[in-house]
Amino acid sequence: MENLLPIAIGILFACGCYLCMRRNIVRVLLGIMLFSQAANLLIFAGAGLSTGAPPIIAGDSTTLTGAYADPLPQALVLTAIVIGFAVLAFAIALVLRSWHKTGSDDLDTFHKSDS
């Protein structure tokens, strides 16, 4: 799995990048979503995959025993997921607004409509 997952993340990232370079504004939006998924997986997988138990301490103990998944990257990714959602919501609102305002879905025409 340590060899398969990086390739999958790479493909996910490449798809996101490709979509971000499109001129169609909706596809850029899709690209941002794939992009942030890939980034989250990078942090999660980069810390090392674990087959251990989730980092939750049992009721009768004061610390984790046995193999456990690293809690720190999980905390970072949790924050990243939420922030990613906030950015996405803003991006959707922005795209919606610009579509109503300019009637154009082509990013190349946007620099002419600055006002």
């Binding site: 909706v26 998924q37 720190l72 997921i81």
Partner: protein
């Protein structure tokens, strides 16, 4: 009195000046403000009488880098502090009268006093970086003062030119200082002399010296950087009198003198400093005679004197050093006077053109006296200070080891031109019958007293040169290790070759003056050739930089997202591939985690979904594939010990899909706009980026550079933070600030979305506004 008051006093007085101007008017304010520098002069002279060791003061500034705010006032510093403070006081009186009625007077007072503090700092500071700070402050204040008439494009241009030239030199100087500190391990200028041997042997000495000299030569207007000084005459005359004749332009000379004990014994010093000084001396003198504007004439003659000073320091012997000290003082006296005289004449008659000024003696007798006294000193007629300095100058030139006759001949030429200049500026406008220019309004006391005072003091001291010698000049030379006994400041040196040279200089100068009309045609030719080269280089260089900047900006900032993305991806992937390729041999195939059937299927589904998202032309299909990716990611989280992440991801993903499904029909259709060639290139770039990403993830799984901090967090989770879910504890306790930031981001995004969709445009009432708002409202319930 602590030493820092030298700098603090004018700085504290500066913010008071606008209030003073409002309260008592600019003339009285100038007189009151001048008390501060005059008090400083008094204190310094009282110290001189004591003639103890150098005063020092220091406070730690950046201890980690060995930097101090160190001040040191020995004989040398005292001489220049007195000069700067004394002329500064006079200029405050003069400026208050000169600019009376101008609405920008408070600004003048504030900036001039900040400049004064900076200049005093340049002289007194001992730490090199501390010196540099003041050095740059003088450049900045000079910029503000030259551009005093900011509505005048000529003044703005001149101000920028002065700033760019001296600022570039300042940067070079900083580099030189850093090199000097690295070679010697000292940051104090006074401590460098002890390392003169180490300095000369170091391979870094040549670049260090060249950088320092670049700073000195730009500041002190040496050829080929002299062109900014005549331009700086766009400043009001009080400023020119102060900054561009008596003080700031001498900062370079002062620094050169301070560094000379450490460096002047090297051959390179003599080979660069002295010839540059000599060339500047001659260029300035020739250019000065050709001018018709009083101030430009004086500016070029200042360039000439600065060249002489630099040349003397370039000789590097005790005699020349003392002569330079004396000349700097004398020049401050007569040039300050002449500038103020020129300013008063300009103020009273409205012109500075030498052709239309004559016979002013009758209407302004006191001014005529000041001008004559200064002119006599400048031409070196006994019994003035100028005479003594010129005698010393010739003696210094005659005693250098080589080329003494050529150098002396150059000196005679430059000095005879100086005589002509003195006659043109100080005598010609006042003699004869009244010319075209008439005195429109008689100058007040504030415009006459300062030049008269300065001239009278010069005359008086000329009769008692030993006073200066004993209390200022000799201590200045000896404090830097030069024997002051060699050069004697006396009026009568006996019938020596030097006296003959002095007489010859005066005669030649008078002849130049008489003949000046004859070569004015040729003069213009010389001026064209000469003035064009450095100035033209400056302007074409400036234009070139602006064009390059515009080209680069246009090239990089094309204003299209996909180009930014492309450039960023190529650069980042290139760096990553380079870095990972270098450590490739460390890669081994890890397989601690088995390739489970379920997990493999999830990963395959995720990959297929992301590819489908790229291919899909229908908005609905796009949403479905995005959902596929998101849910797969959630399952990956769940499979590898992260239930919290999986839950959050599922919730957020569901929310996203729902949100998207509502909005998507209001969004434009998905369509391909790019040409197929562009698409292929983008696909290539994306593939490379994906490859880099794969390598990073792979590499990150393999290496563990530092000990993980998680065990510590796990241990303290239940015992200290009283939480059993470690991830939750990290979020709300250990890294609670991060979570606070996250909440802030969410609120901002919420505000942004609200602003975008609920925006009411009250300032513009177009027809489509109403329908637009209605359209926006349709989308509202979604968010």
């Amino acid at each position: 009195m602590e030493l820092y008051w030298i700098i603090a006093a004018p700085l504290l007085a500066a913010p008071l000046s606008p209030w003073l101007v409002r309260a008592v008017g600019s003339k009285a304010a100038g007189a009151l403000l001048s008390l501060v520098p005059f008090a400083l002069v008094g204190w310094l002279l009282a110290q001189a009488a004591g003639a103890g060791p150098a005063l020092e003061w220091s406070r730690s500034w950046m201890p980690a880098m060995g930097l101090e705010m160190a001040l040191r006032v020995g004989g040398f510093e005292r001489l220049f502090l007195c000069l700067v403070a004394f002329i500064g006081g006079l200029v405050l009186i003069y400026g208050g009268a000169y600019l009376d009625g101008d609405s920008k007077v408070p600004r003048f007072f504030v900036v001039v006093q900040i400049f004064m503090a900076a200049m005093l700092g340049v002289i007194a500071a001992d730490d090199m970086i501390f010196t540099f700070v003041f050095w740059e402050l003088t450049s900045l204040t000079s910029f503000l003062l030259v551009g005093y008439k900011f509505y005048d494009p000529v003044a703005r241009k001149a101000a920028l030119q002065a700033l760019l030239v001296t600022g570039a030199g300042g940067l070079a100087l900083l580099g030189g200082f850093i090199l000097l500190a690295q070679i010697t391990g000292e940051t104090r200028i006074s401590a460098l002399a002890a390392h003169s041997g180490t300095l000369a042997e170091s391979p870094l000495f040549v670049p260090a010296l060249l950088l320092v000299l670049a700073g000195v030569f730009t500041k002190s207007a040496q050829v080929p950087f002299h062109f900014w000084l005549p331009g700086a005459m766009a400043a009001p005359t009080p400023v020119s009198a102060y900054l561009h004749s008596a003080t700031m332009v001498k900062a370079g000379v002062i620094l050169l003198a301070k560094l000379s004990p450490a460096m002047s014994h090297t051959e390179l010093w003599g080979w660069i400093v002295a010839p540059v000084g000599a060339l500047t001396m001659l260029t300035g003198a020739v250019m000065a005679v050709l001018q018709t504007d009083l101030k430009r004439l004086l500016a070029y003659s200042t360039v000439s004197v600065l060249g002489t000073l630099v040349m003397l320091l370039g000789f590097g012997d005790a005699f020349s050093f003392k002569t330079a000290m004396f000349l700097a003082l004398v020049h401050g006296f007569y040039k300050g006077t002449l500038f103020m005289v020129a300013g008063t004449v300009d103020h009273a008659t409205g012109t500075r053109d030498i052709h239309s000024l004559s016979g002013l003696r009758q209407s302004m007798p006191w001014l005529a006296f000041a001008a004559a006294a200064a002119a006599l000193s400048m031409s070196g007629v006994p019994p003035t200070l100028g005479f003594i300095s010129k005698e010393l100058l010739y003696e210094a030139k005659l005693s250098i080891p080589f080329a003494r006759h050529a150098v002396t001949a150059l000196g005679v030429l430059a000095n005879s031109l100086a005589v002509a200049i003195a006659l043109i500026v100080g005598v010609r406008p006042f003699l004869g019958s009244p010319g075209k220019a008439v005195v429109r309004h008689a100058p007040g006391w504030g415009l006459v007293l300062p030049p008269v005072l300065l001239a009278a003091l010069g005359l008086l001291l000329g009769l008692m040169p030993w006073l200066l010698d004993k209390h200022l000049i000799s201590p200045a030379a000896s404090s830097l290790g030069y024997d002051p006994a060699l050069a004697k400041l006396t009026l009568w040196h006996g019938f020596t070759p030097v006296l003959a040279l002095s007489v010859a200089t005066l005669v030649a100068g008078f002849l130049w003056f008489k003949m000046r009309a004859k070569f004015s045609g040729a003069a213009r030719g010389i001026e064209k050739i000469h003035c064009l080269t450095p100035t033209a280089l400056y302007f074409s260089g400036l234009e070139g930089i602006l064009k390059l900047a515009a080209f680069l900006t246009g090239w990089i900032q094309q204003g299209q997202l996909r180009i930014y993305v492309r450039v960023t991806l190529i650069a980042a992937s290139g760096l990553i591939l380079y870095a990972t390729a270098k450590v490739y041999e460390e890669f081994t195939m890890l397989s601690k985690v088995p390739l489970g059937v379920f997990e493999t299927m999830i990963v395959v589904v995720m990959t297929m979904s992301s590819l489908a998202a790229v291919r899909s032309k229908s908005r609905l299909a796009a949403i479905l594939s995005l959902g596929g990716v998101g849910y797969s990611v959630a399952f990956i989280f769940a499979a590898y010990g992260a239930p919290d992440l999986a839950i959050t991801q599922l919730l957020v993903e569901t929310l996203t899909v729902v949100l998207f499904s509502f909005v998507i029909l209001k969004l434009p259709q998905i369509r391909e706009i790019s040409r197929s060639r562009t698409r292929r290139w983008d696909a290539l770039v994306a593939t490379i980026a994906g490859l880099a990403m794969t390598l990073v993830v792979w590499k990150a799984m393999h290496v563990q550079l530092h000990a993980p901090i998680s065990p510590g967090l796990v241990e303290r989770s239940a015992t200290e933070a009283y939480g059993r879910n470690v991830v939750n504890v990290i979020l709300v306790d250990f890294r609670a600030l991060d979570t606070l930031g996250e909440i802030l981001v969410l609120s901002l995004a919420c505000l942004g979305v609200t602003a975008l969709l609920f925006r009411k445009r009250k300032f513009r009432n177009t027809d489509d506004d109403q329908s637009e708002r209605a359209k926006a409202r349709e989308g509202l319930p979604l968010i």
